[in-house]
């Protein structure tokens, strides 16, 4: 185990896989000498050279399309979008091409690619550089969607994503890049895609939460613990395929569920998770409505106070926990 930042863990995952497998290549805007907009790939160009660490023009559609074309012919490309917001330009390549090729071709193709997308607000970059759009990709059969919330998870899941034979949208949290944590160093440290992780065990209420909101949920759990409320915090880690079993079993145990995410509430993935709970046999165990706590239904504003108010705070999560407990 070694302490590293979330960004370093991502770099380690990419580098290890590139050392192991010559078919893994990496492309994106300013990822080479510059080391990426967030410094994630610093040093990789120097190690792997221009053939395998490829700076692209500012052309998101072809970056994603290129990844699909490389993947279907035998490479394992990792493509970086500088901001998840620019996936808007890559949607056709990703959704109509990469995601569907295998099925459309009767199973006679595989598309092992990873699209890395830095997501989330909190950096003061306003409406076009702050979105959390994972729900879109979750709605596209053929894509897998992964959302690590700690450095260790980031490393283990990214290595799994690179080795996966399907297109994986890898959602990174910009605000976590500098966050540190202990990370296994072994080359074979891989986390299974499609498995949730119970980040805190508890018996009174289940909080399902992913990404940057995990830390806040854990803090909220500690606050209400002092009031005698025992919170279970479940991190799905993978949004598609979703580990429904772990979530549903937790809710059956606690009888109460809250789903938290940073993305805009309406149409967000918190709704999917809430719906999964509400239609499952956990319904009969529910003692309270299934609450959602999510980003406000607004574009991300620039002013720092407004920006902060967009996403759930520790206190709001604690309050939601109290609300469902008082039913």
């Amino acid at each position: 185990m070694k302490e590293m930042t979330y960004a370093e863990a991502i770099r380690a995952a990419m580098s290890e896989e590139m050392r192991r497998d010559p078919d893994v290549i990496f492309m994106g805007e300013d990822i080479g000498l510059y080391g990426g907009a967030f410094g994630v790939s610093v040093g990789m160009f120097e190690e792997f050279g221009p053939d395998r660490v490829r700076d692209t023009p500012i052309s998101e559609a072809v970056i994603a399309g290129a990844a699909a074309g490389a993947a279907v012919t035998g490479m394992r490309p990792i493509a970086e979008l500088m901001f998840m917001d620019f996936s808007t330009i890559a949607m056709d390549s990703l959704v109509n091409q990469a995601a569907k090729m295998r099925y459309m071709f009767g199973g006679k193709a595989k598309v092992p690619m990873v699209l890395r997308c830095p997501a989330g607000s909190g950096t003061g970059a306003a409406a076009q550089h702050s979105q959390s759009l994972e729900a879109w990709f979750c709605h596209v059969p053929g894509l897998k969607v992964v959302t690590p919330s700690t450095p260790a998870d980031a490393k283990g899941l990214l290595k799994a994503a690179i080795r996966d034979d399907n297109p994986v949208v890898f959602v990174e949290q910009k605000l976590l890049y500098r966050q540190k944590g202990m990370v296994p160093e072994e080359d074979d440290f891989i986390l299974e895609i499609g498995k949730a992780d119970i980040k805190r065990e508890g018996s009174d209420v289940t909080v399902v939460v992913y990404g940057r909101m995990l830390q806040r949920a854990l803090e909220a759990a500690e606050i209400v613990a002092k009031e005698g409320i025992d919170v279970e915090v479940v991190d799905p880690m993978t949004l598609v395929p979703l580990d429904k079993e772990t979530i549903i079993n937790s809710v059956k145990k606690t009888g109460r569920a809250i789903v938290v995410n940073e993305a805009v509430k309406t149409g967000g993935y918190a709704g999917e998770i809430a719906a999964v709970i509400a239609e499952s046999d956990a319904f009969d165990y529910l003692d309270a409505p299934v609450l959602r706590l999510a980003g406000k239904d607004v574009p991300i504003p620039y002013n720092p106070d407004l920006e902060k108010a967009v996403v759930p705070s520790v206190n709001e999560i604690a309050d939601a926990i109290r609300t469902v407990m008082n039913r």
């Binding site: 052309s59 290129a66 074309g69 295998r102």
Partner: protein, 319 residues
């Protein structure tokens, strides 16, 4: 000119297969025997087949919605193709793809595409694979005049040029994107000139002349294979039939259509082959007959093939 007599025969055969295939599909559609839609390539056989014949058999292509002649040109299993059109389990895509998604990745056909311009990006980085793995193969990317206005065209040509990738961008300019004449969708007459915007060579060819097509593509393929980067070829041709299934042709005149029928690429090749003394008319007739017979056999194969089992609905979403 390195084209061999046996190549000519194969070219002539595939062009006739393509024509026969389309005639059959058109017949099926008119009678509601195929569902969905299709985009027939009658009139464009020289453009598509001539280009594919100039490639090596393990080179790659990306095909389009109007792709039947393209994939037949690449040398496809007609049975599996007809079965796919009929939605059968034995089809190239197990009945899941249909006309717009014929693909055979292992054989180098990276797929037709229902999205206009959808193949541009795929072609570009299929070419990266060839370059990095030093396979010596190249990629030919088919697209239409209408597709040349999609942003993906621009991004793909630029990237392929900057990275010096082995791709031939092959534009089949049939003068219309659906109902829109080229004069209303771009303000230039020659699409090949767009090559200059990316610092790569561009050429125009008579897409109804199979021999000219073959020769130019062969020459360009050599250049591309040698690592000189991509090339744009504009193949000027015409589709005889409606845009999809059928259409009322409100956007063009009967005279225009007739004038292009007089430039029938199959007749033109016949004339050339007989004129050059390479084949007798009788010999060609036999080849043509064989092509039509093969299509009949493919129809029989497809008809006798089973539908995909309903369980297959949920299969093959993920690897």
């Amino acid at each position: 000119m390195s084209i061999k007599k046996s190549d000519f025969k194969e070219m002539y055969k595939r062009m006739n297969e393509a024509r026969a295939f389309e005639e059959k599909v058109s017949y099926f559609f008119a009678r509601g025997m195929i569902h969905g839609t299709t985009h027939l390539s009658v009139g464009q056989e020289a453009s598509a087949v001539g280009a594919c014949m100039a490639l090596k058999s393990d080179d790659l292509i990306t095909s389009t919605h109007r792709g039947h002649s393209q994939v037949i040109g690449k040398g496809i299993d007609l049975n599996k193709m007809m079965a796919e059109l009929l939605g059968k389990q034995t089809g190239y895509c197990k009945g899941k793809g249909g006309s717009m998604h014929i693909a055979d990745v292992d054989a180098g056909n990276l797929g037709a595409n229902g999205v206009v311009g959808g193949g541009h990006g795929i072609a570009v980085c299929a070419a990266i694979t060839q370059k990095l793995k030093k396979t010596g193969k190249i990629v030919l990317c088919f697209f239409g005049d209408g597709a040349a206005n999609e942003g993906s065209f621009h991004e793909a040509l630029n990237l392929a040029s900057v990275w010096k990738l082995p791709v031939i961008f092959y534009c089949e300019n049939n003068l219309y994107g659906m109902s829109t004449p080229i004069s209303k969708h771009m303000n230039i007459k020659d699409i090949y000139k767009r090559a200059e915007a990316y610092g790569i060579p561009g050429y125009a060819i008579d897409g109804n002349n199979a021999v000219e097509v073959f020769n130019k593509v062969e020459e360009v393929a050599k250049y591309v294979r040698e690592g000189n980067g991509p090339v744009l070829i504009e193949s000027k041709t015409y589709r005889w039939l409606g845009h999809s299934k059928s259409d009322a042709n409100v956007y063009r005149t009967k005279e225009e259509i007739e004038s292009w029928k007089e430039k029938d690429p199959i007749l033109a090749l016949e004339k050339y082959l007989v004129g050059e003394g390479l084949f007798t008319e009788a010999a060609l007739k036999k080849v043509k007959q064989q092509a039509y017979d093969d299509i009949e056999a493919a129809v029989q194969y497809a008809n006798e093939s089973p539908n995909p089992p309903i369980e297959s609905l949920l299969e093959d979403v993920y690897a």
